[in-house]
């Protein structure tokens, strides 16, 4: 059998997903037996021009990590879509927008002002902001355009599969790679994970009754290691998050933050978490409810930590 051709790419991401692909350990030898990597900016020196020269659909699968924030991200997403038979949104950024997607609370102007002018460590007295074109003695230079709104990969090109996680766990990555290597592919659009249910299903903590009088931030309490974190007032996102990771964070006494995305069939993870979370508030008195809610300093950022670009609203409205 001819070897598979695989491409890996990073768009707006932190680089963690590229490391996560290596976290499969010795299984990487099995991957190397079955597949050749034809394009991988972080690991192999190939240029975009090399990809442009490849025939259409000549790459068997592309593992694309990172959200779409610049014209370069968009260009390469479209290029790799044209060259690949299977497009996989690998990791939360490509799947839902993730942490880069939080800049959808702002726009380009506000982001630039913060990053290039306001941050305390920045020294930019002339208030120079990035321009797409600049003239230098040697000619005109062009850099990619920075968009107002971060998008997911599926909002930019057609995507075949999604691999959740920030970054995807080793076993999740292998589940996807194994499907590619063996050719036993799930139906198009599948979110590849070991679970379609909520994380609570695989969390070993004991659950009793969910009634919360006060919400805490993780630094404010040392939680009981056996009891459900949500019942202890921590904003544990497990009830609204797809399982498959093995509930690693709750087992380390940290609440789930929701990186595996919504459970199967759910649109807008944040709205569902809001719904579930607020209904466990243990009060029927409007003033007390308001006080309890005041313990959550940043509901939008907490509920949409990984999924703002993929949510119904997609971004904040800036006046």
């Amino acid at each position: 059998m001819a070897k598979l051709k695989i491409a890996l790419y990073w768009a707006a991401s932190c680089g963690g997903c590229d490391i996560a692909t290596l976290a499969i350990g010795e299984k990487i030898l099995k991957l190397a037996e079955a597949a050749d990597i034809v394009f991988w900016p972080v690991g192999i020196d190939f240029k975009y021009a090399d990809v442009e020269k490849m025939p259409d659909k000549s790459i068997d699968a592309c593992l694309f990590n990172g959200a779409i924030r610049t014209s370069e991200n968009e260009h390469v997403a479209k290029l790799l879509r044209a060259k690949s038979k299977i497009m996989i949104a690998y990791g939360s950024c490509a799947y839902e927008g993730c942490i880069p997607g939080l800049s959808n609370f702002y726009n380009r102007q506000l982001t630039f002002e913060r990053v290039y002018i306001e941050t305390p460590s920045t020294d930019n007295p002339e208030k120079i902001l990035p321009q797409t074109k600049v003239k230098v003695p040697e000619g005109e230079l062009e850099i990619p355009e920075f968009y107002d709104t971060v998008k997911t990969l599926a909002q930019t090109v057609d995507v075949d599969y999604f691999v959740p996680g920030c970054p995807p766990e080793e076993k999740t990555t292998w589940l996807a790679l194994e499907a590619l290597i063996t050719g036993k592919l799930p139906p198009k659009g599948t979110v590849i994970s070991h679970s379609v249910k909520a994380l609570c299903e695989e969390c070993p903590r004991t659950r009793e009754e969910k009634k919360v009088k006060k919400f805490y931030r993780p630094y404010e309490i040392i939680p009981d290691p056996e009891k459900c974190l949500l019942e202890q007032g921590l904003l544990c996102y497990g009830i609204a998050t797809r399982g498959g990771c093995g509930a690693l964070c709750p087992q380390a006494n940290m609440p789930c933050t929701g990186c595996y995305g919504p459970v199967e069939g759910v649109v807008d993870q944040g709205a569902h978490f809001l719904s579930a979370l607020s209904s466990i508030i243990d009060s029927n008195d409007p003033e007390e409810i308001q006080r309890i809610i005041d313990d959550i300093p940043d509901p939008a950022g907490t509920f949409y930590r990984y999924s703002l670009p993929d949510s119904l609203l997609r971004r904040a409205r800036i006046k």
């Binding site: 909002q155 719904s275 607020s278 409810i289 949510s311 119904l312 997609r314 409205r317």
Partner: protein
């Protein structure tokens, strides 16, 4: 904006508020025609997602109407709503949407007049606020995966 006629979605619970709206109708009480009623079994059925969806597909305001606290047909469904809506409003504010566009009110089956008053008052609030910054025409032209 003088000619602005807002689109308002009102989620009415089956047991109290929908009957209240019905009473307003059978009593021939005039109220603002901007209200589009959607009947739900309980105000507790109104997932915040419904409110977000209504706003993204063109509603300028969303009313959630339920039984008075203590009167819920399902005993405590409306208490869940009572807890959800303030948190939803706090979140909407962060996302740049005026929290006045979402309102929770209690309307019993005998309060036809109150239903009309709430409808008129809310319509006026939304008229004063102006059209929503959301809605299909303001959305990004590229289709979302979720349509």
């Amino acid at each position: 904006m003088d000619n602005f006629e807002p689109k308002i979605v009102a989620f009415c619970c089956n047991w109290c508020s929908y009957a209240g709206a019905d009473l307003a109708g059978t009593s021939r009480i005039q109220y603002s025609p901007n209200i589009r009623i959607i009947r739900v079994m309980c105000s507790g059925r109104v997932n915040p997602l419904f409110v977000l969806k209504a706003l993204t597909v063109g509603a300028d305001g969303v009313l959630i109407l339920g039984c008075h606290p203590g009167d819920c047909h399902y005993i405590e469904g409306n208490y869940k709503t009572l807890r959800r809506i303030p948190l939803l409003k706090k979140m909407l504010k962060q996302l740049g949407i005026e929290e006045e566009r979402v309102r929770l009110e209690w309307v019993s089956a005998s309060e036809g007049a109150k239903f009309a008053e709430v409808a008129n008052n809310f319509t006026q609030t939304i008229k004063d606020l102006g059209p929503s910054s959301l809605g299909p025409s303001k959305q990004n032209s590229q289709e979302a995966r979720h349509g």
